[in-house]
């Protein structure tokens, strides 16, 4: 492995532990890592956006002679972009509304049939499909129960969202059932999420220890050792700083209390 890769891996370990130190308390290591992270991410997206979007879709097209006079059409997005920038100049700031109107109108329109199709019609159809499946001769009892729960749950859930329902009334009781169904769904969702989140932490541990590399590489990296050193140093310093901060706060509190006492006495 190249030297820069090994050093890079150590930086990686340092940053990983620095961010994890946030679990203990906000501290200078975390702040450093946070700002480095935000900074590099900004740099990264700017470079990517230029090379992957603006350059091929606008710049290259406007400067590509092979396209001939057809290029003129790309002056329109250029105008829209310039309009957007006009917001920096108060006198022409209103021009940016044209670009905003274009973008919002475009996506608002596009979303309407897309959502209706996949989130409304297809979902109702899937529920009906489950019901038809449950009416088949070879349907199992859990499929039938499932279809029942599906229909009742979906209907009561819809009632929960029904904005025209009064606070008290029979519909409210149905809406309550709807909330139960939603809650079971959320619970299931949470239960599944736990797995995913823990996997992420495992992934970090694997990378820090060099366990996702070949044995030879892992040996060169000394991941476990470096990680242990980082943990001791970073958490040691953070604990020390926290301790000092607590002392300071206690002191400030004491002073404030004394002051208050003195004020009360003088009164």
């Amino acid at each position: 492995m190249a030297t820069h890769e090994i050093i890079g891996h150590w930086i990686l370990i340092f940053l990983t532990i620095s961010i994890l130190s946030y679990l203990y308390a906000d501290n200078p290591f975390y702040k450093l890592a946070e700002h480095l992270f935000v900074g590099t991410s900004i740099g990264y997206v700017v470079v990517v956006q230029w090379f992957d979007v603006i350059k091929p879709n606008l710049y290259d097209r406007l400067t590509n002679d092979a396209l001939g006079p057809a290029r003129i059409v790309y002056l329109i997005p250029l105008c829209l972009v310039l309009f957007l920038f006009a917001k920096l100049v108060p006198r022409f700031a209103w021009l940016s509304r044209i670009s905003v109107a274009f973008v919002i109108g475009f996506y608002a329109g596009q979303n309407i049939p897309a959502y209706l199709n996949s989130d409304l019609v297809a979902q109702v159809a899937s529920t009906l499909a489950a019901v038809t499946r449950a009416t088949k001769p070879d349907a199992t009892w859990h499929q039938m129960l499932g279809a029942f729960v599906l229909v009742v749950g979906m209907l009561s859930g819809l009632v929960y969202f029904f904005f025209s329902r009064r606070e008290s009334g029979p519909l409210n009781a149905v809406a309550r059932v709807g909330v139960w169904v939603l809650m079971i769904g959320f619970g299931a969702s949470f239960g599944y999420t736990v797995q995913g989140r823990i996997s992420l932490a495992i992934g970090r541990a694997l990378e820090v220890f060099g366990m996702n590399r070949t044995a030879a590489q892992a040996e060169q990296l000394h991941g476990k050792l470096v990680a242990a050193v980082c943990v001791v140093v970073i958490f040691g310093i953070v604990a020390f700083l926290e301790h000092k901060r607590k002392l300071r706060e206690a002191e400030a509190e004491r002073l404030a209390a004394e002051q208050e006492k003195r004020e009360n006495e003088s009164r």
């Binding site: 769904g185 599944y192 996997s199 495992i202």
Partner: protein
């Protein structure tokens, strides 16, 4: 005592969690498990492919989601190579290209073409395709690269793939891009409809859900995806009507690894996962025990956050 437990400093929980993850990782144990129907269905769909058919493998995750979906991406790539199908790779995530390149380098060029590891023919489990020949860039596989535009790209590919990807990444990093019209793998492929199967490793947006919404339903595509565990509940309404298979998180990846008999990071991670998950269950149980004890002592207190639905 109870008061103290009820307002337990959450950092103790963090510490136990860290221990629950690190210790089983360093002292491995393994527990048996079975593949679930949606994972098996995906495996079967790949198994049913005929050599020479073309498959789209969309790698839509970033380094952060690697532990969850990458084990599957590796396993299915090996499986595809073994089936000797043509592979078209692409991504909708700007941070994925380095990942795809490393997948290609390690598995296609490193393992398959060199007949190493999983594909070593002289090993007992060696699983080389019957009509073995090295995979060639452009002819047997291609990486189209990254395209910005999220679900719009997906919708566009449903109509015209080539318009969305006029050029593909070159074989070597930094090389000139190749016009897709000159890539033999893509002959006969003009839109998503022309793929025998569409597979996706998806870690969020844009991902499997957008595929289903934009194109799968519309064009009745054969589509299966591996997603992060979080997205499973989001996607399970689509299985099996719209999606023919669904691999959920590290567990699903581990199951797939088991099916293709290539245990990797998914399998080893799953064991660790078990301990972490048991801890979370214990945390919930502990929280409730404290809650009930407290309520018995002081019936009207209500500790913790008020999770009201509004």
């Amino acid at each position: 005592m109870l008061e103290k437990l009820a307002t337990l400093d959450r950092r103790w929980l963090f510490l136990v969690m860290a221990i629950a993850i690190i210790v089983p990782l360093l002292v491995p144990v393994s527990l048996p498990f079975e593949a679930s129907p949606p994972v098996r269905a995906t495996y079967d769909a790949v198994e049913a492919l005929r050599p020479g058919q073309t498959v789209l493998l969309s790698i839509d995750y970033d380094p952060a989601a690697r532990p969850e979906v990458e084990p599957w991406a590796r396993a299915v790539l090996r499986h595809l190579l073994r089936r000797r199908v043509k592979i078209v790779m692409m991504t909708l995530w700007d941070k994925a290209p380095p990942i795809v390149r490393s997948l290609i380098n390690e598995i296609v060029l490193g393992e398959y073409n060199q007949r190493r590891g999983y594909f070593a023919p002289d090993q007992p489990g060696g699983r080389l395709a019957q009509d073995y020949a090295p995979y060639r860039y452009g002819e047997d596989y291609v990486f189209l690269g990254y395209k910005d535009g999220k679900e719009i790209v997906i919708a566009g590919m449903g109509q015209n793939l080539r318009q969305m990807f006029p050029v593909a990444e070159a074989e070597r990093e930094g090389g000139d891009k190749i016009p897709v019209a000159r890539i033999p793998v893509l002959s006969g492929i003009s839109s998503l409809r022309d793929f025998a199967l569409i597979l996706e490793a998806s870690a969020g947006f844009p991902g499997a859900k957008e595929y289903v919404q934009q194109v799968v339903t519309r064009y009745r595509l054969r589509f299966a995806a591996a997603t992060t565990a979080v997205s499973v509940t989001d996607l399970s309404p689509y299985y099996p009507e719209q999606m023919l298979g669904l691999i959920g998180g590290m567990r699903g990846s581990a199951e797939y690894e088991q099916l293709v008999e290539a245990p990797g990071l998914g399998t080893s991670g799953l064991n660790v996962l078990t301990f972490g998950q048991i801890f979370v269950i214990l945390a919930i149980v502990l929280g409730n025990v404290i809650f009930f004890l407290q309520r018995r002592l002081r019936p009207r207190s209500s500790p913790g956050a008020g999770g009201g639905v509004g």
